[in-house]
Symmetry: C2
Subunit: 337 residues, 2 copies
Amino acid sequence: MPSTTPPESTRRIVLARRPQGVPAEEDFRLETVPVTPPGPGQVLVRAVHLSLDPWVRGAMTGRDLGHPPIHPGDLVPGRSIAQVVGSGDWVVAETGWQEYAAVAADSLRPVKVPPGVPRTAALSVLGTPGLTAYAAITRLIRPVVGDTVVITSATGAVGGAAGQLARLAGARPVAIVGGPAKCEVAVEKLGYAAAVDRHDPGWLEALAKACPDGVHGYLHMAGGDVLRGVSGLLAPHARVALCGLPDHANEAGGTVLPAGAVMRARASVHGLVVHDHFDLRPQFAERVGRLLAEGRLTFLEDAHHGLESAPLAFSRLMAGLNTGKAIVHLDPDTSDN
Amino acid sequence: MPSTTPPESTRRIVLARRPQGVPAEEDFRLETVPVTPPGPGQVLVRAVHLSLDPWVRGAMTGRDLGHPPIHPGDLVPGRSIAQVVGSGDWVVAETGWQEYAAVAADSLRPVKVPPGVPRTAALSVLGTPGLTAYAAITRLIRPVVGDTVVITSATGAVGGAAGQLARLAGARPVAIVGGPAKCEVAVEKLGYAAAVDRHDPGWLEALAKACPDGVHGYLHMAGGDVLRGVSGLLAPHARVALCGLPDHANEAGGTVLPAGAVMRARASVHGLVVHDHFDLRPQFAERVGRLLAEGRLTFLEDAHHGLESAPLAFSRLMAGLNTGKAIVHLDPDTSDN
């Protein structure tokens, strides 16, 4: 069992240079370095499933709200499902993009997923993306039966969960995604009532047609043009959650919201940062865990293999090319969870 | 008593042409026309105090949410405190900008103001502007003790009431106004903790200095540049009420809200249209009436005299040159309320 053998060296990925726009593979560098021995209060863990998350892009430019900035030469930060070397315990750990990491023992959380559910769910639908979706839907958008709820990045880790939670609340979820393949995934696999391809020049007309009663709830994680377009379709008293601004993360200009549309709809617009909603964790874990166990909620994974694939996988994530939660499986023996 | 003598003709003001930008006097025309005799269910009223309101500008371009569009040749719409010809009863009536009007008897509301309070309060602090301020503060901005609440058009009919209601809730109201004279009025007469002149090129630095803990609540009724500036000062979990968009009313371009600022502050932004908050009327009338009677709330009036002064007064209102509620007193005998 590999987790019982303390290694001498580890591979890791560091930032090579500050990215311009959507990060490229060349912005990263793979290194092999000696394993740092665990200090007092630390344990050595072996990362098995690495989570790739959009907030990392913000940290590269010092824009992320919850994480310190990173600079060229720094290990890229990130969360993994890992095994404690020695005990073999499965934990969620802040390992960064590397194979072995010395981490504070008291920062580890056990991996809790219902029986039959892959353990990577703890990084997606039962992890921070799932909690983000849960806060967006249950606390900010609050759909009621019959509402139309539009979700951007609708097949992503947050969007996929949000659309299903809206549907389970009796609302009609409508997906905005990039490309016809994702439209199909949205409807066929995630239960969206309709899906619109934002690369189609007629996407806004298609969205208007898919939302004949207007948009009662809107989860925004897309570009400024999408925000502007959807704003014009808001139904009276619509609720909007601003959850991700990829134009900002990719430094592609500032997203703005037309104030006239907010007034016309007497809408409420909320900035959503998941750290504000950690109080929801127990009810989220209980409810979403049960929905997963009952097979009423599903989740998609954008799976990659080998640490060396992380830079390209991250580039695809930030370009919106992923479908589902982006995960890099670091160990070929455990890639099937 | 003039209200008992049915007149033969009435003076009225009609729209002469569609205004460009801030309305000019020449956009209006004074006419003398025969009085329309009251039809079934109607009574004749004599307008005594005419209210000038920004929504009228929106109706001229078909942009107002609650009122039908008006066209050249149409009577300019508006609310008055009037006397019923014959009975002499004081009522609030939708007379339009004219001296005598036949109006539906069941549309009239009695003028209710506490003893010692001028009856024009029913058009301002106890009328729609007061209710707008009350909804903005008590329902959307919800200041708590120690909060900093920034109010634009802070000496206007809505802003003046909102600033005082915020102060009475234990918050620190900060005014944004146009010109040093209004800064003085804001602090000296309306009890603002500080006031900033938005015509001063250094207004945003001055505002930042006046709000060292950030802006917890913001009532927006100003231009897009002000919205953009204040957005950058929002404190965590700030509440913003979008209540007036003069750039839109004056067709001076679309106001936008920076989405990054909303996210950074995890702010909530609400579009406010007073018609959504009519359910607050009883508690508003009770509470604000009591505050007025106790002398704990005051209000300012931008008084004009004679129907012919209405176009210039309205132009000044839409240019932000009024201080307090814009009222045209139509009868020299009753101009002192």
